[in-house]
């Protein structure tokens, strides 16, 4: 047996139960779902009728519970299932939710909370003020340790193949922290400006805001932070790690190679890149046209890599990987991409005016573009590269540009928007055609097409079929072939395994080749993909190479392991309404027949960034901006913590899960949630508490000190219309307590209580009521029919004045407090198997022998303490806990005797 008694819930009922049992020498496990013990009591101002300070009484009990030698406390944990076993004991499954903070290391300094960029309603202040995603529940929390709210990974971050914390930089941009946003992207890759422009942005495809008016322009926000950094001339806020003495050679300076180099250098390794081309950047530097990605931006990104000491040798084609080993490199990474253009395999292809797309794009990007002015150009292919080539040909002055592809318009591999843009610029499209031959003797004169009847076979494999009789010819002077790209790996063949398509075969998790010190990543392994995919693979390769160099075991499953994706419908459900915030336009300026390569997409203005980042829904709550990690002096924050399953055995169970408050918006005639100066009793208790959310009692509508305050008693209690005929027992008394405290805090305030009757059963309770009346509270017998809001936020209450002939009257107030009642906590229904733990007709845990054995439930060995079995105030809950634990102790003893 691991523990004698499991106590579920750590409000006053649970703490009292645990302490009494612990004092008797029993081993107790307390499981609390919030991050602190204390329940509702610690959040109260004072307690009736003594007016003792609630936290002064509660805090010592909370500390005693945590520090008691016989009590183990699990906060931020949930009991998932309890099963009674044959021998009368119980097996218990517990889910320990991760705090993402090492409790032992955290000093409770709250620096993480101060730095956090996400604001959410503070449930511990009854939603009157904000808290942060990283938070310490309240000032007297025990344990006083931070916790980070992370229900999962935000879709944008989850969907980013590069592993960039997209939500993080959006939230930093929202706070105006552009340099920090830039640095956050640098944690993944140095290519901030390039990705900000040329990334196809899978983050935006799944953005939850997309199901409202359109996604947050996540990529363009990144572009803004990159541009802001580069224009600022601020130094790079990143330094290489301390030197390890290990040397790594990287072949290829594309997104994969550059990212790997960056990461390895940050880890302290010496890195040298060999690049075959005349500029660094791979496709970024050589082929993606300047109108989408200016060369200067690529140069700035590459500058980040060289700034931390990576050496790049240009115009150096590596053909012998063994030679690199001989030069003393401890590891080699091959990241040579897919530099070869596919061939048509038709008659006439050998003519000099038939050029591979990559050559065409490269000469154009490097400013040595072919002279096509006045010429008719045909581009063959239906993908992104073909579109780039066709649009480049227009800019180079071609007379006409026709794109020919096998696929019909809707099947083209290029994105729809790209095709639309090409058409808008005057590219003509001949879709659904294959190439029969290139016409001409010494030079190209035209191209003959044949109708493509299907591109794929029944199994979805690429297998075009044609109607050979349906043909047409297009007269042209130049043919650009953009029908796919492949790797150039023959020279690596003796050492490395290759697949049929020439890509390198490496372990998909570790990216290690058959030669242990040689790794490969990016498109040379995966075939043509996207920049962001190559970046992600570059990161993975660096991580694995670092493990290899340090002789650590590989952990391919752990790398970039994210919490599950938060789904859009769950995010949208968190709010009752979403106000409309339209998405911005694309910002692209398209002209027919463009004649230069200037960038077509306008940058976002700061106001647009502000507006757009303000549309983010904070899907994963924590944005992973890493600000907390950066400021925590104790290094206590570990975002890689994961939920833990704990199985344990106990002899008895005490259910002390307390109650819920009536949701005041279920009485719409009182206007809670719509009228800003209508609050609940719990909110007023918070306003009166020493750790209150405002500087004093103020109206939430405008911050004014209220002078006329009304109480509406029995809100949600003794009310068949909301299905609750029961008296909640506590609301009369807490209202009377608050009346007295208000008169202390706001001596000029008038307080009026509208009541059916005042219920004050309990020692000293009636005297307490009389005292409130003597202090000036007016009690009016009458139920409120309706509340109206005036333009100035004041409230008009309409009521039946029962003691004056039942006349309907109206009265005006500054602030209205709804004395909300108590409801059962339905969590108790999930604890045991269906129907095992019985509930009374009002859904409270049933006490089967309430008169003689209070606290005994329908299950032998399971007891209930406090308000889980019905409305109780603090003294009653303490008494009830005493009754429950006496029986729990007796049960434990009986089991001992039996065994």
């Amino acid at each position: 047996m691991d523990y004698d008694v499991l106590v579920i819930g750590s409000g006053i009922g649970g703490m009292e139960s645990a302490l009494k049992l612990g004092d008797m020498g029993y081993r107790v496990l307390v499981v609390e779902k919030e991050a602190s013990v204390g329940g509702k009591m610690i959040l109260l101002s004072k307690v009736f009728p003594t007016l003792d300070c609630a936290s002064c009484i509660s805090t010592p009990k909370m500390a005693a519970t945590i520090h008691h030698p016989n009590i183990t406390v699990r906060t931020y944990a949930e009991v998932e299932r309890i099963q009674r076993r044959q021998d009368g004991t119980f097996s218990v499954s517990i889910r320990q939710n991760p705090r993402f903070v090492d409790e032992a290391a955290c000093t409770g300094c709250q620096l993480c909370e101060q730095a956090c960029t996400v604001a959410v309603p503070d449930q511990f202040n009854a939603d009157l003020v904000s808290r942060r995603a990283a938070y310490i529940p309240f000032p007297q929390a025990v344990p006083k340790k931070a916790v980070i709210e992370r229900p999962g990974t935000s879709p944008c971050t989850f969907d980013c193949p590069a592993g960039i914390k997209a939500h993080g930089y959006v939230s930093l941009a929202r706070s105006g922290e552009y340099e920090k946003a830039f640095n956050l992207v640098l944690e993944s890759t140095p290519l901030v400006g390039s990705l900000g422009r040329a990334c196809f942005a899978p983050c935006e495809d799944g953005c939850s805001r997309g199901s409202l008016e359109g996604p947050v322009p996540i990529r363009r926000i990144k572009r803004f932070v990159a541009d802001t950094h580069y224009q600022s001339e601020l130094p790079l806020g990143v330094e290489p790690g301390s030197t390890t003495g290990k040397r790594v050679a990287i072949v290829g300076s594309g997104p994969a190679g550059l990212t790997a180099a960056w990461q390895l250098r940050l880890l302290g390794h010496e890195v040298k890149i060999y690049e075959a081309g005349p500029v660094a950047g791979g496709a970024l530097g050589l082929t993606i046209p300047n109108y989408r990605l200016p060369s200067e931006v690529v140069a700035e990104d590459v500058g980040n890599v060289t700034a931390i000491g990576v050496e790049i040798e240009l115009n150096h084609r590596v053909t012998d990987l063994g030679e690199l080993s001989d030069r003393g490199f401890d590891a080699v990474l091959v990241a040579t991409g897919t530099p070869r253009s596919g061939r048509l395999g038709v008659e006439g292809e050998e003519l000099p005016q038939v050029v591979p797309s990559l050559d065409f794009l490269e000469t154009s990007k490097l400013g040595r573009g072919m002279d096509v002015s006045g010429k008719r150009v045909v581009v063959v292919g239906g993908g992104n590269v073909a579109i780039d080539a066709a649009r480049s040909a227009r800019r180079l002055g071609a007379l006409a540009v026709t794109e020919v592809c096998l696929e019909g318009r809707s099947e083209m591999p290029a994105f729809d928007w790209e095709v639309d843009e090409a058409l808008a610029e005057g590219v003509q499209l001949e879709d659904g055609w294959g190439i029969a031959r290139v016409q001409g003797q010494d030079r190209v004169e035209g191209i003959e097409l044949k109708r493509c009847t299907a591109v794929f076979d029944a199994l979805g494999r690429f297998h075009p079929t044609y109607d050979e009789s349906a043909r047409q010819s297009i007269a042209c002077d130049l043919v650009v072939v953009a029908i796919g790209m492949g790797p150039d790996t023959e020279s690596f063949a003796p050492l490395l395994d290759r697949r049929g398509n020439g890509t390198l075969a490496v372990d998909p998790g570790t990216l290690q080749s058959r030669v242990p010190k040689i790794f490969a990543c990016g498109d040379v392994v995966d075939g043509a993909t996207m920049i962001t995919t190559a970046v992600g693979q570059g990161r993975r390769a660096a991580h694995m190479i670092d493990h290899f160099l340090n002789s650590q075991a590989f952990d391919p499953e752990e790398f970039n392991l994210l919490l599950p994706r938060v789904e859009a419908q769950d995010v949208l459900r968190r709010q009752k309404t979403h106000s409309r915030k339209d998405a911005l336009g694309s910002g692209k300026e398209l002209v027919l027949d463009p004649r230069d390569f200037h960038e077509i997409e306008a940058p976002l203005s700061e106001a647009e960034v502000h507006y757009s980042a303000g549309r983010c829904l904070d899907c994963g709550v924590c944005s992973e901006c890493h600000e907390c990690v950066n400021v925590c002096p104790a290094d206590a924050i570990h975002l890689d913590m994961r939920p833990e399953k704990v199985e344990t055995e106990v002899a008895a169970v005490v259910v002390s899960t307390g109650f819920k408050l009536f949701p005041a918006d279920l009485k719409p005639q009182y206007g809670f949630g719509r009228f800003k100066n209508v609050i609940t009793g719990m909110q007023m208790d918070r306003l009166l508490a020493p750790t209150r959310p405002f500087n004093t009692v103020l109206r939430p509508g405008d911050g004014k000190v209220p002078e006329r305050i009304a109480y509406v008693m029995c809100t949600g209690s003794r009310d068949q219309t909301v299905g609750n005929p029961l008296c909640s027992r506590i609301c009369c008394m807490y209202s009377i307590k608050q009346n007295q405290l208000i008169m202390g805090a706001l001596p000029l305030a008038d307080v009026t209580v509208f009541t059916i009757d005042v219920r004050t059963a309990g020692k000293g309770y009636d005297e307490f009521y009389v005292q409130a009346e003597a202090m000036g509270t007016t009690f009016i017998k009458g139920r409120i029919a309706e509340i109206r809001e005036l333009d100035n936020g004041d409230l008009v209450l309409r009521y039946e004045d029962i003691e004056h002939g039942g006349e309907i009257r109206e009265a005006e107030f500054d602030l209205v407090v709804l004395a909300v009642g108590v409801q059962p906590n339905l969590d108790t229904r999930q604890l045991f198997g269906a129907g095992e733990l019985q509930h009374d007709p009002y859904y409270y845990v049933e006490e089967v022998d309430e008169d003689l054995n209070p606290g005994q439930t329908s299950i032998e060995g399971v007891f209930v303490a406090g308000a889980a079995s019905g409305a109780k105030d603090i003294p009653e809950s303490i008494l009830h806990a005493g009754a429950a634990v006496a029986q729990a102790a007796a049960h434990v003893e009986a089991l001992r005797v039996r065994s």
Binding site: V120, P121, D127, S579, G701, E789, G793
Partner: protein, 82 residues
């Protein structure tokens, strides 16, 4: 002041976004919540959430007394962390 209510979560989420506007509004001296609301063009009850959040996290502090209209005046504080 009968204004359409936005969801509480949506309003509170905007605090980091509104912070700069509010700090600008109090740059020349302390202001009440209705004054700040007028300057930044937002409803007073929304400004209350942001001002109280900023007060909680050390960006703003209140005057010692309320004025004749029962309103406190909030001023910017030097904050240790950004």
């Amino acid at each position: 002041m009968v204004v359409e209510s936005r969801d509480l979560r949506e309003v509170i989420r905007e605090e980091p976004l509104r912070r700069r506007e509010i700090l600008k509004a109090v740059a020349d001296g302390p202001r009440t919540v209705p004054e700040i609301a007028g300057l930044i063009g937002c409803p007073t009850h929304e400004v209350m959430y942001w001002v109280m959040g900023m007060r909680k996290y050390g960006y703003l502090a209140e005057s010692s007394e309320a004025d004749d209209e029962g309103l406190f005046h909030y001023r910017a504080l030097e904050r240790l962390t950004p």
